[in-house]
């Protein structure tokens, strides 16, 4: 299992390919992946940029804990979680979650579980900068289930 917090650009597919190379081919039959990307609109406004704040130390621990919970709940070969912090712009990837398993049900469910848990428990906060120059904290997540 790997957890990455990145202050530089997150390249989800490269990160995924690199990580998957460490797995034995043939052991997993299913890979479920989610990538969250910054949109250029939110709540009816055009967004210019966003700052992702986190709680150094606690954020990593929460992501580790969430990944371990998934591994206890489903038979997984591996889990990868990567999340951006700092200044980002529309189109930039924010989060990558991948789960490898022998079977697709476990991979799908674990990937989604990790995303929902991350959204509700991992200490990250988004501050949007609108096209108007106004800054605002994003107040909550859209429901995912």
């Amino acid at each position: 299992m790997a957890v990455h917090l990145l202050a530089e650009a997150l390249e989800p597919w490269e990160t995924l390919i690199r990580h998957q190379q460490s797995l034995a081919a043939g052991c997993f039959g299913a890979t479920a992946v989610f990538v969250g990307t910054m949109r250029d609109f939110n709540e009816g406004d055009d967004i210019q940029a966003m700052t992702l704040e986190h709680y150094p130390g606690m954020t990593e621990r929460q992501l580790e804990t969430i990944g371990q919970e998934a591994r206890r709940q489903w038979p997984l070969e591996d889990v990868l979680i990567a999340h951006r912090v700092g200044r980002i712009h529309p189109g930039d990837p924010i989060v990558l979650v991948a789960a490898w398993s022998a079977h697709r049900q476990a991979a799908f469910e674990a990937c989604r579980f990790i995303m929902e848990a991350l959204k509700s428990r991992a200490p990250f906060w988004k501050q949007e900068r609108l096209q108007s120059g106004q800054q605002r904290w994003v107040s909550g997540n859209t429901p995912g289930m």
Partner: protein, 77 residues
Amino acid sequence: MTITVLYFASLREFAGRPREDMDAEGIRCALDVWRRAQEGRPLPPGTLIAVNQEYAAADHPVREGDEVAFFPPVTGG
């Protein structure tokens, strides 16, 4: 030994500072930390609390050496 108090995101703006150290004397729980640091201002609704980087309730015990953080609902992912 003191208590380390951290504020994140909108709570940092509310508190007017990102962190502070506090004498542990007379502090029993996380809510005591907030009350002393914020001079009695009520906790904004929805505020989350972590003690030593684990989520905790407002009445979670706090002693010297602990790190206590206050922050709004999380919005990552």
